[in-house]
Symmetry: C2
Subunit: 418 residues, 2 copies
């Protein structure tokens, strides 16, 4: 039986990926430690679309006639448990989503930065050792991020770049200038994985994913109980989702700074297709390969304008307002990233323009009574000053008071690197 483990199966993308792979004949073992739901309670955030418990979801999937999914609660930071899981199931592929994936969450304070890097880097290290020991031919499909690259003034290649220098040449890892402690954790993972492939002959695909939008895949749409989460707050929400929620409440779309920040984007249906295609076309023994997983580039302002235009077609007015940028990033910059490898494997991208945008707006409209306007208007985590979300619970647990500890607000340009 062709077993695939999905680590982080309770997440926004982990759940639809589990369904999609089960639908395509894989015997899916869906693994999660459910920490994402705990972080929601910590932050006072919640999915706009109601989601069921993992056991309820898996049951709903079985009722819908879907393929095999086995649910296992497990933390990848528990090295022994993870090692046993790999030894028992001998998967042909492992899809690894099981990381803390919010840049603002990682920037709240030292505790969140250290937790993010420990959780992500050591979790992946545990997995690399478990594969080395118990499933050396297993194909690791790991979620990275386009944010690993930053915004260099040259074209971004897929993971490696051929450099000519002083009359010599080598193909080396593409230099990384990531923009948060979360993005840094993915850079660390990439280096560790590359090494494990070199020394142990593991096979791995690192999917440097862009910003995902959308709420449904063919599989999640099959029954209400199969819905995946939809985040719109300033901690967990991606930018397009947030714009759609703001629009549904007739609030201005809030753009950080000028909005010239350009990134790669993709439809959630393309995410699950990319992972299926990666598994179906595995990396070779000893190969560490990188795919840039996105389909279109937009600036943040362009996204806001797309939402405004989609609403204008229905006679609705939409305001766009610019807020001070809490992140330290360039607001106007060159951006051109390659994304050919997945197209070569057969990806047929969904474009954002057209019906997709209307379907997101419609999903949001359907659930707009659930919008927590407090969360939507929550102060942003500041890249220099740290976090300002609801830390009542943390402080009650005796954590140190965060207010007033950060006096430094210098905004300095680095001389090196740019």
């Amino acid at each position: 039986m062709n077993t695939v483990i999905v680590l982080g199966a309770d997440g926004y993308l982990g759940w639809p990926t589990s369904l999609h792979l089960a639908e395509h004949g894989y015997n899916v073992v869906a693994v999660d430690n459910l920490v994402r739901r705990r972080w929601d309670r910590e932050c006072g955030t919640d999915s706009l679309v109601p989601i069921r418990s993992m056991s309820d979801r898996v049951r709903a999937w079985e009722h819908s006639g879907g393929g095999s999914i086995t649910w296992r609660r497990l933390d990848v930071c528990d090295a022994e448990a993870l090692s046993l899981l790999i030894a028992e199931t001998k998967p042909s592929a492992v899809v690894h989503f099981a990381e803390q994936r919010s840049a603002p969450f990682s920037m709240i304070d030292l505790a969140h930065a250290a937790m993010t890097q420990t959780n992500n880097v050591i979790g992946t290290l545990n997995l690399l050792y478990a594969l080395h020991e118990h499933a050396p031919d297993c194909h690791l499909v790991k979620l990275g991020t386009m944010g690993e690259y930053g915004t260099p003034n040259i074209d971004i290649e897929e993971g490696f770049i051929t450099i000519e220098h002083n009359g010599r040449q080598d193909t080396l890892p593409f230099p990384k200038v990531p923009g948060s402690f979360y993005h840094l954790s993915k850079v660390h993972d990439s280096h560790n994985m590359h090494f494990a492939c070199r020394i142990w002959g593991l096979r791995a695909t690192d999917l440097n994913q862009g910003v995902v939008y959308g709420s449904e895949t063919d599989e999640t749409a099959r029954a209400t109980g199969l819905a995946t989460r939809f985040d719109y707050d300033t901690i967990w929400g991606t930018v397009l989702n947030r714009f759609c929620v703001q629009a549904a409440l007739d609030q201005p779309l809030t753009v950080y700074g000028s909005g010239g920040q350009t990134r790669g984007f993709l439809d959630i249906r393309d995410t699950v297709a990319c992972i299926r295609l990666s598994i179906a076309n595995p990396a070779a023994v000893g190969e560490y390969r990188v795919f840039n997983q996105f389909t279109e580039q937009f600036s943040v302002l362009e996204l806001a304008e797309l939402v405004r235009d989609a609403r204008a077609a229905h006679g609705l007015a939409t305001e766009i307002s610019h807020l001070p940028n809490p992140r330290v990033e360039k607001e106007e910059h060159y951006y051109h990233a390659k994304h050919q490898h997945l197209l070569d494997l057969g990806l047929e991208p969904h474009a954002l323009r057209g019906t997709l945008l209307e379907s997101i707006i419609s999903t949001v409209h359907q659930h707009r009574s659930r919008v927590n306007t407090g969360v939507l208007g929550m102060p942003n985590v500041d890249w220099q000053m740290g976090g300002t979300v609801n830390w009542t619970q943390r402080q009650q647990r005796g954590s140190r008071d965060l207010s007033g500890r950060r006096a430094s607000n210098r905004r300095a340009e680095t001389r090196a690197g740019n």
Copy 2:
């Protein structure tokens, strides 16, 4: 008062650095958690040159008329304690040696790999936050390693490289292909530090150091009680030190593989000078700069031949034998690394040829009755199979049995990256 904190002050280089800075008028706070001595007990290893306790050493330094050194026992992984130390002392510079620094130790098993990466990366992250909060103008002088770069087929620049690509140009971090989980931890540190300088305006110098040789500096030679450690085993010993001990026992010098592995080397007296020069010429606000800290390049075989030739001048014969290489690394490769920045600051390098080599051989000869031949002949940690040192203590503490868990011995070439 010009206070400099030396983190990792009990180590091979941390101790001589503390003395050297005190000698040059700095008010030194010497910090360590003494874990290096615990690791010696774990591995059954020991310094060839006897070393005193930290309090005895500091007392001996005072007796010798040396400048101010305050000894503080503290673990950089204790974020609160480190933060308090920075807040109390408001240092003008922090020299950060406080990391697990053995590549073989990091490759023993998952526990050692994870400990190395957690200890090094989170310790440095704690320090970055403490500086950001309490001493934002402090100059961080951090020890990296030349091993971060690996052995690319192009010239190695100092931290950053200007890349021309598809008609555009940018100066970006030099791509890293490190060769152990230890070396990877330093790569992770470098990325985190670069980011902290960009977003918080910290100032940092990352010293990518080569392999250090030698046993004495001007300051440690002042009294017996001021000696620093001298490691010769396969876990902690650097290659030239090991050769000198093997030669002193009339044993063959053991070269891994062909011995064509070329690296940068420097004299311990140059290490302390480089750190003093870096402090005296600090990085600018927001600047993250990288100096390649070595003075000469040698292949491992060339080093063995230098030891043989030095002994031949005294009529002593020396055999060189080649062992199977336990590491996964290229044994014949291009290697040309820049190391101009520290020369520009005034470094006057000591060359290995000449009296230096004889002085190391003489130090070793003086202490040769202390050589633990069991440790010298200890099986090496294998990069693919894991560790084989004395784990009796660990196993008694209930750690999992390491023997027989690693069946995989495939030696695969990676397609990507080279």
